[in-house]
Each structure stands twice: as structure tokens, then as C-alpha cells.
């Protein structure tokens, strides 16, 4: 069956360091992959999208990589800040219908 896995354990890092979150998938050939941020009590907010033919995408302090051979995406936040503390969700889109399948999310805690 199709599976999307994110590290369920919280990631604790020091302010200023680079946070790296992982999204692995199996039995999937996604057309593209999206990353969302979710704060407590709020809905997910879109951050970045990367297509299957793209290796890397950047937006300000955010960087996403997409390795279709390893079936993995990495999400990096450079120069992390306490305000980056949130849960980050990856979501895969298998076809053109924009139906998203979400991973369970990883909680990031950035300590000052």
C-alpha cells in the first residue's frame, strides 16, 4: 500500500542552525510534492512545491529537495528562528487531480 512517512519524533535544534526534515514515500510515483506548515490550532499553510523533474527548490531560508530514486524529499530551514517552531507536513500529488496525500508531520522546536 502507499505510504508517506515523516519522523514522528519532534526535532529540537538551536536557533541559527539548519533544520532538516525528511519525507519518505513508498509505492508512489508522485507528480509533485508540497510542504506545508501547521501551527497549533490552525490549518496548514502552503510553503513550497517541487515537481518530479526538479531536484531542488528554494524560497528565502527554505530549501526542498526531491529524489525520486530514493523516494525522498528533504526540507531545510537555514538560520532557524524560534518563530519557525511548528509542525511541517509533506504532501504528495499522484496525478493531475490535485488530490493530496499527507504525511503525519514532524514537529520542529527551535530554541533560543
Amino acid at each position: 500500500s502507499q505510504k508517506i512517512e515523516q519522523n514522528s519524533e519532534a526535532l529540537n535544534i538551536q536557533e541559527g542552525k539548519t533544520a532538516t526534515l525528511t519525507c519518505n514515500y513508498t509505492n508512489y510515483s508522485p507528480a509533485y510534492l508540497q510542504w506545508y506548515r501547521q501551527d497549533p490550532g490552525r490549518g496548514p499553510v502552503f510553503l513550497l512545491l517541487i515537481r518530479e523533474n526538479e531536484k531542488e527548490k528554494r524560497k528565502e531560508r527554505l530549501k526542498v529537495t526531491f529524489d525520486t530514486t530514493l523516494k525522498q524529499s528533504l526540507f531545510h530551514i537555514t538560520a532557524s528562528q524560534p518563530a519557525d517552531s511548528a509542525t511541517y507536513l509533506c504532501a504528495l500529488v499522484k496525478n493531475a487531480g490535485n488530490m493530496l496525500t499527507f504525511g503525519g508531520g514532524t514537529r520542529l522546536m527551535v530554541k533560543p
Binding site: I4, S8, A31, Y32, Q34, G41, R42, G43, P44, V45, F46, L49, R51, L89, V93, A96, G97, N98, M99, L100, T101, F102, G103, G104, G105
Partner: protein, 120 residues
């Protein structure tokens, strides 16, 4: 623009009661979605709609119904509430019907802030 608005924000139901979760968007999006999110879990798709008058089942549709009579509104109905339906429900929309991004297939989804539903 308000984006995606969900009401109510919180609700407690008794087993067997029914209710409708409201969702409205003001972004002229064709596609709308309902998800549920259980603690520590990802969002699971309940139902979706690609336009007014068209709805289809997602991954976990049992116990729910939807309708889409207008582009803006996509209510979710629980007919006989069960404890297993205790969850946080999110509505989302995507694919603008007009403008620069109309017709593109890789658009992000815009979420409301959820309805927290407890069934006791």
C-alpha cells in the same frame, strides 16, 4: 479576502446526533476538499468537489455526506455521530477559476482553521 472560513470552531455532540460543518471560500476556487486530522496523524481526505454540482469520495467517506450547490460553499454533514468521528475537520480549496493561475494543475491548497468536533 477572508480565504477559507469554517464554522463552528468547536462543537460537542452526543452519539447519534447530526450536524453540518460549514465551509465557504471567497477565492473563486473550483476545487474544494474536506479532511479530518486525528492527533499525531496526517490529514485524511473525506470528500472533494471539482465544481458546483460535482462531488466525489476520498479516502474515508463513511459516515459523512457533502453537497456543492455553489462555487463558494461546501458543507459536510454528519448524520449519526459516532465517537470515531471525534477529530479536527479541515476544509480546503484550490484551482482558481479565473486569473493568472486558472487551469494550472499544481496549485497549493488553502485551508481553513478547522472545526474541533468531540462526540461523547
Amino acid at each position: 479576502n477572508a480565504g477559507v472560513t469554517q464554522t463552528p470552531k468547536f462543537r460537542i455532540l452526543k452519539i447519534g446526533q447530526s450536524m453540518t460543518l460549514q465551509c465557504t471560500q471567497d477565492m473563486n476556487h473550483n476545487y474544494m476538499y474536506w479532511y479530518r486530522q486525528d492527533p499525531g496523524m496526517g490529514l485524511k481526505l473525506i470528500y472533494y468537489s471539482v465544481g458546483a454540482g460535482i462531488t466525489d469520495k476520498g479516502e474515508v467517506p463513511n459516515g459523512y455526506n457533502v453537497s456543492r450547490s455553489t462555487t463558494e460553499d461546501f458543507p459536510l454533514r454528519l448524520e449519526l455521530a459516532a465517537p470515531s468521528q471525534t477529530s479536527v475537520y479541515f476544509c480546503a480549496s484550490s484551482y482558481p477559476t479565473r486569473g493568472q493561475f486558472s487551469g494550472r494543475l499544481d496549485q497549493p491548497q488553502h485551508f481553513g482553521d478547522g472545526t474541533r468536533l468531540s462526540i461523547l
